[in-house]
């Protein structure tokens, strides 16, 4: 286990974290501001990935595919919000869970109808292929490094928007007192649609970047969604800062755990035992982490102050 290997895994953990953040940010905003449990958020991630593959096939240009996929996901998100989710804001969480579960079933089948059930192949764009030498002896995939940079840039952008712009102020106000914001004459419906669309675009961005690394197939959104929920629970619902911290922590713990737990175990128990217990334990790590955080801080690490 060399130091370089550790650094590489740290970077991978950061990359996963950044991906989780993109999806978590939208989801936590929607929870926090609209009080909406949206299980179908993972579907927007999936849709982004599929659109990227589709548009790349059409246009042959990665840049065009990115832009088109983002716009398309944004459009789908806003459409879903207007058609299906508006009525759910007033309903209790159970209704929201069930309705968005229904949306998941629909989206998964819809992509299967259009593109089939088999996993799609999304290739890393040639311009971003290859490796970059970050440290002597450490060659890291350019693509993954770009993902990290994009993710951090988005985090910075979100920070600026939320804390420096009028829209951001409305978002923060809405997160802590929805009725008051509405009473002040702000067009709440429009605000909600914008927030939701924004979140959808972020999820779509995550999806289209994820395509070349993870498999593009029906149900890919839900696999990520569970980890995203862990991120939000740890970070605190409604808090973007919490989503970032939670995402990086979860990304690191998960990646490092999967990479190093088995070899570490093998130093204390037999290789055979480590072989069977290792992966199982590694997959449990983030949930144990979540349980531990909840034990001490049931509201998460950075709960958005609510009234």
């Amino acid at each position: 286990m060399t130091g370089l290997l550790v650094v590489e895994q740290l970077l991978n953990g950061l990359q996963l974290g950044v991906m989780l953040f993109l999806v978590a940010a939208g989801l936590t905003l929607v929870f926090g501001i609209m009080n909406l449990v949206n299980l179908a958020h993972g579907s927007l991630y999936m849709v982004g990935a599929y659109f990227a593959v589709a548009f790349l096939g059409w246009t042959g240009s990665f840049a065009a595919a990115v832009v088109l996929a983002l716009l398309a996901t944004l459009a789908v998100g806003m459409l879903v919000e207007v058609v299906a989710l508006r009525t759910l804001y007033e309903r209790d969480h159970l209704d929201q869970v069930l309705a968005t579960f229904g949306l998941i079933l629909f989206f998964n089948e819809a992509v299967a109808i259009v593109w089939g059930r088999a996993a799609l192949f999304a290739s890393v764009p040639p311009a971003l292929g290859g490796f970059v030498e970050l440290l002597p002896g450490l060659r890291y995939p350019v693509y993954r490094a770009v993902i990290i940079l994009v993710g951090l840039a988005v985090a910075l952008l979100l920070y600026v928007v939320v804390s420096r712009t009028r829209l951001g102020m409305l978002i923060r106000a809405g997160a802590s007192n929805r009725t008051m914001v509405a009473a002040l004459g702000v067009n709440i419906r429009l605000l909600y649609t914008i927030v939701f669309g924004f979140g959808a675009a972020l999820a779509g961005l995550g999806g289209l970047m994820a395509g070349p690394i993870y498999t593009v197939q029906p149900g890919m959104g839900e696999e990520l969604l569970i980890e995203v929920l862990v991120v939000i629970v740890i970070g605190g619902i409604g808090s973007i800062r919490g989503a970032l911290v939670g995402a990086v922590v979860v990304g690191m713990v998960d990646t490092l755990g999967r990479a190093f737990l088995k070899p570490m175990l093998a130093t204390v128990v037999s290789p055979a035992a480590a072989d069977s217990a290792g992966p199982a334990l590694a997959s449990m790590l983030i949930y144990i982490l979540m349980a531990a955080v909840l034990y001490f801080r049931p509201q998460g690490l950075f709960p958005a102050a609510r009234s």
Partner: protein, 315 residues
């Protein structure tokens, strides 16, 4: 609906279920025997979820975890030559109950959105653990080495016998459920859903009751899992996948939550619908999805509320 009317309806429904094997034999359609047995097994799981969801107001998205635990509690002993149902099924209930105790102890400290997400996360954790354990088939699952043995004339290999065993268990569950709902315990649970803050203010330590009902529900669902393993004779970790939890929840809502008959109706409706729709198109979920959304938005009382005189919540 008065309790007498409810009892009558329940009796009629159970009698109808009892008649299914005879009808299936007469029509020479053994498939229906299998289908309705499957319906009853899921009805048991759905009733167990309804106890915590419909009556207690706890939206647990991880209930299928106990289905999986129960199934594996049958398969793994069988793998080692232990086929007695009297060992496997209590084990299934005990292990599921234990898992529910641990998961509940952590999850029930939270509420609302957090609770939903945490139960989901824990169940999914068990799923991932399940797929990473190679000796038990990992992702592919495993074949059940043989059905549970009840001893004597009760041979689960005989489809009729198996059917009536499941029916008996369902009937006992419904009867017991009826008593529990109206006893002190059930009253407290219903009060948790109604107004937990008030319940604590009058002096009830609600946490212990929530945990107890959570464990009970988990144990019953574990029994359903044991029966399911016998039904399909093949089990995979997908029994614990959260979408399975979603399916069970759909059954409860579709049928009418907060009632005992509702989940039974819902299980029947869901599985029959699945059966019919999947004969039409392999993409039947694209229809079920929006259908579910519509039911949630416009038909909240579920099917049970459409039954004349039905729909009024128990209690």
């Amino acid at each position: 609906m008065t309790s007498r009317r409810r009892a009558l309806t329940m009796a009629v429904a159970l009698a109808a279920l009892a008649a299914v094997p005879l009808a299936a034999a007469a029509l020479n359609q053994p498939f229906y025997l299998d289908l309705f047995r499957r319906i009853m097994i899921f009805a048991i799981a759905a009733v167990s979820l309804d106890i915590i969801l419909g009556y207690g107001g706890m939206v647990s998205l991880g209930h299928a975890a106990y289905l999986g635990i129960g199934a594996y509690a049958v398969a793994i002993p069988a793998l080692h030559g232990l086929h007695s149902a009297w060992l496997q099924w209590p084990l299934a209930m005990a292990l599921s109950g234990l898992a529910a105790l641990v998961i509940g102890a952590v999850s029930l400290r939270t509420s609302g959105v957090y609770f939903i997400m945490i139960t989901l996360a824990f169940a999914q954790m068990l799923y991932y653990v399940g797929i990473s354990i190679e000796p038990w088939g990992g992702d592919d699952g495993m074949r059940l080495p043989g059905r549970s043995r009840l001893g004597g004339p009760l041979d689960l290999g005989d489809p009729h016998v198996f059917y009536y065993v499941v029916l008996a268990i369902l009937a006992v569950l419904l009867l017991a459920g009826e008593r529990v709902i109206h006893a002190r315990f059930g009253t407290v649970i219903r009060a948790v859903k109604s107004n937990e803050a008030r319940l604590q203010a009058i002096g009830v330590a609600s946490f212990r009751y929530k945990l107890a009902v959570f464990v009970l529900a988990g144990a019953v669902c574990g029994l359903a899992g044991a029966l399911l393993a016998n039904q399909t004779e093949y089990l995979t970790p997908s029994y614990m996948h959260w979408t399975r939890s979603g399916d069970i929840m759909v059954m409860v809502i579709l049928g009418g939550m907060g009632t005992l008959a509702g989940p039974v109706l819902g299980a029947a409706a869901f599985l029959l619908l699945e059966n019919v729709l999947s004969a039409w198109t392999v993409h039947w979920q694209a229809i079920l999805g929006p259908l579910l959304v519509l039911v949630v938005l416009y038909a909240r009382g579920g099917l049970w509320s459409l039954v004349p005189g039905g729909g009024a919540r128990d209690g």
